[in-house]
């Protein structure tokens, strides 16, 4: 057993690519070793800005020998057959054995293949792995780049170190030959270093100011950062991604604490933090008592400077000061422009080529938000409208142009300075939320209305132009919008029929679409492609006018058009994903959606949760079994007779005791069920269904459904049909698995 060390030494690898490169190097090597039938004990990969290293322990020094036996023709077979066999195994007549068995004497070839030395195998596999390495972006370089076929790497690859069992594994990749040499830190130890194994490599690297393991560099950063914050009496806001990024930018991280002019603290925290983090990769620091941002920051250098870091700090402070001056300038400039004025400029910002400008989106969202207030009492119509109208205004502010991550936040600061209603201020800030499964979900009415309206508009819009997510592609983050809608509804207990809401906004979207189409027809510069405009026009003609749904409909069955159903299905899928994470099986959600009458998500989840508890009880499990039996019989008999048994039960024909008992139970259960459903008391609904369990079981034990007498048979089938119908008032049990 021996050890392998591979190091691919290059110019600076982007920090964000290092971790995946380690995984890829391991994965590709594992596969190649498996194909070569070489096992190993452990494999680990490491990355620094300038190197990608692989360490394998417990590789055999050679492949196992392979012994293969092949039976040939009989020893006395015609010469031609024997010659053919010898040719196929590459042996001569005296190299093959004769063996006797019951059927006669046969020729046997024993082929022994010596396993190749592992070093030879490695020499063959690494060049392939290097040539086909899956960097997200790669490049050609140097004189070899005369050909577009030359080696590609993330940045120029400078040297390859490859040792197995203490010896160089010799190979060449596009004239770069492997060796036992590497280099240390770019400035502290630029000379070549010879190594003889992984232990030696680690030791010499650390003497050469390189910490190979990214986790160790992260630890080092955290340790030094904590020491600095102790001295500075400040606290650091935990930011693992920033620690990792800095570890990916340094081979020898050193943490330094700098300061900036306190005057910059007038600028909002989010801007200061974004400036420090995004542009400079600095950590911002807070006062442990007040929680406020302080005028101190931490930066991570890649040097053990001979002056203790004085010059580095001075430089970083100067850069930050220039950056913050810019930010302050933007902040002060933006404050001179009222949000309304900024909002007016959104007519020049394209939201999507086919969905019009951001101003048009804002108008739709404002209408919808107002309607949500008026129709369902979410927020307050006037404030919803105002907040929605201003929510995206900051997109044209100087600050958001510079730091897109502070969108919404800046708008809320500007709104606050303008003295707008606090509900409007909050809604501007919160309307992008929630952005995932774990962040905070707005709870203030106005925020909820605008956040919901914005997401629904996005979803309906992109569905209308057929830009639905497919597989792993979701360029407009529609799945996230879907999840946001679900969280806003469920976490705020919002009660409405989703389809109605979607229908309302769809009408608005189609107005934009048709305007967009007519505008494109007039404009000579950028035409929509003809097929797109055809489609939009068709939408306008057939769907908008023809299908505006009645918003006060009380019908149990939903009368939505296909595209609304498509949207509801999409949200149902998102709901299943979201609920699965909370332990709710997807089939229960299907069972409730399958009723075709439930698109009030709050009620739907209440039903599902009552159903889930019910199915865990003995009654529930048995009723499910009884239901399935009834449904099976019905399916077969309905097919046989070519009709449904949906008439009324004839009490006079109920003969057996068990049959009659079931009918009585059904009538009483139906009454309870109706009351429970009206009260939306789904536990009570389940209890009502539970009453059926005993009579159903007894019915199947004692009663023959397919009686000789046709009328009695039909009456019993009708009874079963009513059982099924009763169950379906709660959920379509046929969708439930198991």
């Amino acid at each position: 057993m021996a050890e392998l060390l591979l190091e691919l030494f290059s110019e600076e690898i982007p920090a964000r690519m290092q971790s995946k490169a380690c995984d890829d190097l391991k994965r590709l090597t594992q596969k190649a070793l498996k194909d070569a039938q070489l096992g190993f004990e452990t494999m680990e990969a490491y990355a620094t800005p300038r190197r990608l290293a692989l360490h394998i322990i417990g590789l055999p020094t050679a492949q196992a020998d392979v012994r293969e036996e092949r039976r040939g023709p009989k020893a006395d077979a015609p010469e031609k057959a024997i010659a053919g066999f010898l040719g196929s195994v590459g042996l001569t007549r005296d190299q093959v054995e004769e063996r006797e068995d019951k059927k006669g004497t046969f020729l046997y070839a024993v082929i022994e293949k010596k396993g190749a030395p592992t070093a030879d195998v490695l020499s063959a596999i690494f060049p392939d792995i290097i040539r086909s390495f899956p960097w997200p972006k790669s490049m050609r370089w140097g004189p070899a780049s005369q050909s577009t076929e030359s080696l590609r790497w993330v940045r120029p690859l400078q040297s390859i170190l490859c040792l197995f069992d203490g010896n160089v594994v010799p190979f060449e990749v596009n004239s770069l030959a492997s060796s036992d040499e590497t280099r240390g830190h770019r400035f502290h130890a630029p000379e070549a270093i010879k190594v003889n194994g992984f232990g030696d490599y680690l030791k010499k690297l650390s003497e050469a100011y390189v910490i190979l393991d990214p986790l160790k560099r992260m630890e080092q950063i955290v340790k030094e950062a904590n020491a600095q914050t102790m001295i500075g009496k400040v606290i650091i806001v935990r930011d693992d991604a920033l620690v990792a990024e800095n570890a990916g930018l340094t081979e020898w991280p050193t943490v330094l604490m700098g300061r900036f002019d306190e005057a910059f603290l007038d600028v909002p925290d989010e801007v200061l933090t974004a400036t420090m983090r995004t542009n400079q990769k600095y950590f911002s620091l807070r006062d442990p008592n007040t929680g406020n941002l302080t005028n101190k920051f931490l930066c991570v250098a890649n040097l053990q400077a001979s002056d203790g870091g004085k010059a580095i700090l001075a430089g970083n402070e100067k850069v930050l000061s220039a950056r913050l001056s810019d930010a302050k300038f933007f902040w002060e400039q933006d404050l001179k422009t009222p949000l309304e004025e900024m909002a007016a400029k959104l007519k020049d910002v394209t939201f999507h080529e086919k969905l019009g400008t951001v101003a048009e989106k804002v108008d739709r969202v404002a209408k919808l938000a107002k309607w949500l207030g008026a129709e369902y009492g979410i927020g307050e119509p006037g404030l919803n409208y105002q907040a929605a109208k201003l929510a995206k205004a900051d997109l044209v502010s100087a600050m958001v142009t510079e730091f897109p991550s502070v969108q919404g936040v800046m708008g809320s600061y500007y709104a606050e300075k303008q003295g707008l209603d606090v509900a409007v201020v909050n809604a501007i800030k919160e309307h992008y939320a929630p952005q995932g499964p774990n962040d905070d979900c707005p709870t203030n009415g106005v925020s909820v209305a605008v956040a919901l309206a914005d997401k629904i508009d996005t979803l309906v819009g992109f569905f209308a132009i057929d830009e639905k997510p497919t597989g792993s592609k979701d360029p407009y983050a529609l799945r996230r919008a879907g999840l946001g809608i679900i969280r806003l509804i469920l976490e705020n207990g919002l009660r409405f029929k989703l389809g109605e809401l979607l229908s309302f906004v769809r009408v608005e979207v189609f107005e934009t679409l048709s305007e967009q189409v007519s505008r494109a027809a007039e404009s000579s510069v950028e035409q929509l492609r003809p097929q797109d405009s055809d489609k939009a026009v068709r939408f306008e003609v057939t769907t908008i006018k023809g299908n505006r749904p009645s918003l006060t409909t009380g019908n149990p069955a939903l009368q939505y058009s296909d595209d609304i159903k498509g949207l509801i299905d999409f949200i149902a899928d998102r709901l299943k994903v979201q609920q699965r994470e909370q332990g709710v099986p997807h089939d229960l959600i299907d069972a409730v959606f399958a009723l075709g009458s439930e698109d009030d998500l709050v009620r739907l989840i209440a039903r599902v949760s009552a159903l889930q508890s019910f199915l865990k009880t003995d009654h529930g499990a048995n009723l499910l079994a009884g239901y399935k039996r009834a449904a099976n019989i019905l399916r077969i008999e309905e097919k046989k007779d070519g009709k449904a048994f949906d008439g009324a039960v004839d009490e006079a024909l109920l003969g057996d005791t068990q049959e009659h008992a079931l009918f009585v139970a059904l009538v009483s259960s139906n009454e309870l069920l109706a009351k429970a459903l009206e009260m939306e008391d789904f536990e009570a609904a389940m209890r009502a269904l539970a009453q059926l369990r005993g009579p159903v079981d007894a019915f199947f034990d004692y009663v023959t459904v397919n009686a000789e007498d046709a009328a009695i048979r039909e009456n019993r089938l009708t009874l079963l049909n009513q059982i099924r119908a009763a169950v379906h008032k709660v959920a379509d049990f046929s969708k439930i698995e198991g």
Binding site: E11, M139, S145, S147, Q280, A305, G315, D326, E526
Partner: protein
């Protein structure tokens, strides 16, 4: 830093350094352009198989960055020092670091970092991979390995180094305001040379440039470029100058705020078409087109 280089000595030092490494030292292109990359010595010369090593200063004009001389860091006219090495030598990073050392940056006390920054110019149909080079957190250069220009693969790949001279000088001299830079080491400051220019040019760019005439100039440059490209024997070099003009006029119109977001894309598309046409003609008149 004590005894630091004056602004002009910084330029002279970089020129000497790259001249010693075999570069042709060119003088600035005599046209307004947004960056040193636009210079034909980079854009067109990056194409084709010939060796090409050049260095030059290029005044760069960014009309929207004008601040009437009131911002200590932003200028509508500033200098870039540009080095183009084709093929990019294997030790180009070391050569680059040598140039920083030559202008007085000490690697024992300063933190130099190569931070991912890929370059893409839709206008030129060009892209490359590289870094922004940080010195103590400040971006002092752009370092790019050109992969494609005008939609053509670079064969071989050229290395492009762009130094932001004012920033670098401010850093070396320890000055907080660009106008305080020591220009010649004998009492003339950057402000003495350029402050009035920034004030007047900002006013021109933002307030007075006649947009009607600019729009006409744009069309004229576009038409002239197309005419030169459509000749039986196309003339890519003069055509490319018209493309540079069109690009600058577009930047002026942008600064005047008369280009809407939608129109923007269309204008950029028009300049890109010109640039692409020039690269096509350059490749074919040199006999390199596939």
């Amino acid at each position: 830093m004590a005894d630091s280089l004056s602004f002009q000595d910084l330029i002279l030092t970089l020129q000497r350094y790259w001249a010693d490494r075999g570069c042709v030292i060119l003088q600035p292109y005599d046209m307004e352009m947004g960056a040193g990359t636009f210079h034909a010595a980079t854009t067109l010369r990056a194409l084709g198989p010939e060796r090409w090593n050049a260095a030059y200063v290029q005044p760069s004009r960014r009309p929207t960055d004008g601040r009437y001389g009131e911002n200590p860091n932003r200028l509508q006219h500033y200098y870039q020092f540009q080095t183009i090495l084709k093929p990019a030598p294997v030790d180009i990073q070391d050569q680059y670091l040598g140039s920083l050392k030559a202008i007085g940056i000490d690697f024992e006390t300063h933190d130099i970092r190569f931070v991912e920054d890929d370059w893409e110019s839709p206008t030129l149909g060009a892209w490359g991979l590289g870094w922004e080079v940080w010195c103590d957190g400040m971006e002092v250069s752009q370092f790019t390995y050109f992969q494609q220009v005008g939609g053509y693969d670079c064969k071989p790949v050229a290395g492009e180094l762009t130094y932001g001279l004012e920033r670098l000088a401010m850093y070396i001299q320890g000055v907080d305001n660009v106008y305080d830079l020591d220009f010649n080491g004998r009492g003339v400051t950057y402000g003495d040379v350029f402050l009035k220019n920034e004030q007047q040019q900002s006013a021109y760019n933002f307030e007075h440039a006649n947009t009607g005439r600019l729009l006409q100039h744009f069309k004229d440059a576009e038409a002239e470029c197309q005419m030169l490209l459509e000749l039986d024997k196309p003339l890519p070099l003069p055509a490319y100058e018209q493309c540079i003009s069109a690009s600058h006029i577009f930047n002026m119109l942008d600064a005047r705020g008369v280009i809407s977001v939608t129109e923007r894309a269309s204008y950029i598309g028009r300049v890109r078409a010109l640039a692409k046409g020039c690269c096509d003609a350059w490749m074919s008149t040199n006999g390199w087109a596939a």
